[in-house]
């Protein structure tokens, strides 16, 4: 009897243990969070006092989620090492792998947030960030001064709290710019040179040049010449969608054109039709790449990097890497010039705009952060000019030199700065990208961005670029564009949060879907069939409740005018 009951006892013990292990794994998520935030508040209160007075550097870890794919810096990275030595902070960064929506969904479902997270309306909607306004007021004088003029804009339109510190768009001092990062019709420098640097203003002139060049040089380096490339892949779809608004002299407002404070969707308007009809015509002539609508971003970049693509509509930052590759291959003549094309010469181009605050981007502090005060203080410290220079220019003497108070680079330093492997060991690029930062110029007048320092830009120009610029009588490629007029208060409409799951968002998704489906069809159709595809397309759009989308934008434009005007 004894033996048997012992066995039974053993088994029940095993079962009990299994059960308890299994059950301890689940449940209780919410309580834990609540407790954590409470604790955070407590420790924050006590901590802030001690860390200030002590003067001793206590090491602490900050985990950060970067919402784009990237590479980990090397363990002995120069800048991160300095940050650790002087502030005690070390960063544990997680880069996006895979799909951002999926990743955010998983993070939200599990309430699994690192301390710092790059901005996302999804995370805001899920209540993943803590409000920052009080923290900044109390602990972060540098940040407060930095954002002073933009304070109201940073407030979330839904509840009036500040959740995210925008990473770009706050300017100080004189703003030099010699690099245009925005949208344009791009054309190879070689094409302009071939035709003796003509002035290209309109869409027709542009395609005319490409057509002539392609006829003259059917092959480049042994591969067939591609006249025009359109990328329409995943969220990088503006190459197909956005051109019409620019062609009528309107700046980039995303999916709508705003006239006198009233927004309207332009996807189905006549001036859009005009553009796609032109593309249809060009396709018939074989100017447009046959594969253009089936390629993914990698294939697109590979084509641009090969130097066989004469032109495309895109944002400069999107294909920057391909240009770098062309430069490395020493094919400067195959890099691109951005042209602000319009339909007719009487229209003034408005591609270039004054920088706007990059809302919904940058860092927010999550509700799981154990010590928000420490983090905001760290961010505040890093806002200091000394750190800003270190992030942007690097270490004096190593990464740049100072001549008569002006920052310059030697050729070696220039080459280093463009070298991706070197960057991983010597720059805190991915972190700095999302940190609040000084833009424009420092108090000593130097540009915050090496590429924008006029002397540095001139010195770094290749002979080929000098020739192109001299031919046009310009100082930099930015001069191809008209000077931007002041931005309207609400600008840009593309940064309006449509609210996840709202009718407006669904309508915008639908619209997107229809454009992705019908526009390629229209462009690839036989010219005689273009009109029937277009009619089909506009009819579908009418069914898609775009009114809800326009209404939401208009409501927010009104809100911005009321709340952002000074």
């Amino acid at each position: 009897m004894g033996g048997k009951s012992k066995v039974t006892f053993k088994y029940s013990l095993v079962a009990l243990l299994t059960l308890s292990f299994a059950l301890s794994g689940c449940g209780g998520g919410n309580d834990k969070n609540a407790a954590a935030t409470d604790k955070a508040k407590e420790t924050a209160a006590t901590d802030s006092a001690s860390s200030n007075t002590g003067g001793k550097i206590e090491p602490f870890k900050v985990s950060a989620f970067i919402g784009v794919a990237g590479q980990q810096p090397t363990p002995d990275n120069k800048i991160y090492k300095k940050i650790k030595e002087e502030t005690g902070a070390s960063f544990d960064m997680e880069f996006l792998a895979g799909d951002i929506n999926q990743k955010l969904g998983v993070m939200i479902a599990g309430q699994d947030y690192p301390d710092l997270m790059t901005g996302s309306t999804k995370l805001t909607a899920a209540g993943a960030y803590i409000p920052l306004e009080d923290l900044i007021e109390e602990h972060a004088p540098n940040l407060k001064a930095h954002y002073a003029d933009y304070w109201n804009m940073m407030k979330d339109p839904n509840d009036g709290h500040i959740y995210i510190l925008p990473n770009y768009g706050v300017y100080n001092g004189k703003v030099n710019s010699s690099w245009y990062s925005g949208p344009a019709f791009w054309i190879q420098k070689a094409v302009l040179k071939e035709f003796n640097y003509p002035k290209v203003k309109t869409l027709d002139q542009y395609f005319d040049l490409i057509e002539q060049y392609k006829a003259k040089y059917p092959k480049i380096d042994g591969s067939p010449t591609i006249g025009f490339e359109i990328l329409n892949y995943d969220w990088k779809n503006w190459g197909l969608f956005n051109a019409p608004q620019h062609l009528i002299g309107h700046p980039n407002d995303g999916g709508v054109v705003v006239k006198d404070g009233v927004a309207e969707v332009f996807a189905n308007k006549d001036y859009a039709k005009k553009y796609y009809q032109k593309l249809n015509e060009m396709n018939e002539k074989g100017i447009i790449d046959k594969e253009t609508f089936v390629q993914n971003y990698d294939q697109y970049m590979a084509k641009l990097s090969s130097g066989t693509v004469l032109g495309m509509f895109d944002q400069h930052w999107n294909f920057n890497a391909a240009e770098d590759s062309l430069t490395t291959q020493n094919k400067i003549e195959r890099t691109y010039v951005g042209l602000p094309l319009v339909y007719d010469e009487s229209t003034k181009d408005h591609y270039r705009d004054l920088a706007v605050l990059n809302l919904n981007n940058g860092f927010g502090i999550s509700i799981n952060a154990k010590d928000p005060v420490k983090i905001i203080k760290l961010l505040d410290t890093l806002m200091d000019e000394k750190w800003q220079k270190l992030f942007s220019w690097g270490v004096e003497g190593e990464d740049y030199i100072v001549e008569n108070g002006r920052f310059m680079r030697t050729q070696e330093q220039r080459d280093n700065a463009a070298d991706a492997t070197w960057q991983l060991a010597n720059k805190a690029k991915s972190l700095f990208e999302y940190l609040p930062k000084t833009e424009g110029s420092y108090s000593d007048g130097n540009s915050t961005d090496a590429a924008a320092q006029p002397e540095e830009y001139k010195a770094g120009l290749k002979p080929y670029d000098k020739e192109v610029l001299d031919a046009y009588g310009f100082n930099s490629y930015v001069d191809f564009f008209s000077d931007p007029p002041p931005n309207p208060v609400y600008y840009p409409a593309w940064s309006i949060d449509l609210i996840e799951g709202s009718d407006a968002k669904i309508a915008s998704t639908k619209l997107n879907e229809l454009q992705t489906k019908f526009l390629p069809k229209a462009i690839l159709a036989k010219p005689a069939e273009f009109d029937s595809v277009w009619t089909d397309y506009t009819e579908q759009i009418e069914k898609a409740n775009v009114k809800a989308y326009e209404d939401k934008i208009n409501e927010q434009i009104k809100w911005r005018i009321e709340n952002w005007s000074k």
Partner: protein, 324 residues
Amino acid sequence: MDETLEIDTGVRRPKKNKRKKQPITWRVIKNQNQLIWMSVPLMLYIILFAYVPVWGWTMAFQNYRPAKSFGEQEWVGLKQFKFLFTDDNFIRVLRNTLAMGVINLILGFVTAIVLALLLNEIKKVFWKRTVQTISYLPHFLSWIIVTGIVATSLSINDGIVNIVLMKLHLIKEPILWLSEGKYFWGIVGASHVWKEVGWNTIIYLAAIASIDPALYEAAEIDGANRYKKMMHVTLPGIKATIVILMIMSIGHVLEAGFEVQYLLGNGLVVDWAETIDIFVLKYGLAQGNYSLATAGGIFKTVVSVTLLLMANGISKRLGEERLL
């Protein structure tokens, strides 16, 4: 799903008879208490990971907002299902899912069985192993790599498919495979076959290995050639395995996939490429509408279970092996 499954069809019937003779009494339970205790952790595992998550289905009837507690959620009844079923795209999406699911199912079965039969005929072990290894290696590649390979080989510049077809004078001009909806299902099916055929073959080879060699000898004595042995010994020998795997796979018909279609699809073929999963991603997850995503999941599960039961029932009628 089918990787590790081992079906021992011999045991089934005797066990059933035994059960009839011996009703479950306290004595039986006492006698088998070790067995019962041993099954407890597994039961817990199943309850935890297969049944507890079903609780999440409540989300489909709410306007679920993360970070709010269960009590705070807003209940909306069948709204999400209504959105799902009344959307213009739903029929199209369902058609694509079913079509690609069925294509994958049939192609997958036929190719795996044929390959297994052929492999079985190879007498040199070295060659058999080599072919087997080469054919199952793609299984370990992720879809993102496979779709990359597929897209590259279908490209009109230097794509191997077009080059081969041109050299064979089957086509005059390179075909832009990924721009035509009518090719899309075929491409997806072919990619699946390339990736999974070797892996799916393993289980059939195992089943073939368990066929009594005496049967082959007998067949030989009766004058059967290779082909006849294949038809009358090998195939009937693995019939049970085929039927069981078929029943299980039918339950997965709606899992036509997500990655292939998402990664290979584009605006031109969207009418043929979009599956339920992609639709749910677009209007559910990407919109932060987790409820809709759940509703989509429930729909898929219900259809899958129905199909599974139907297949099982038909199989029973026909007097074949059954799963349940």
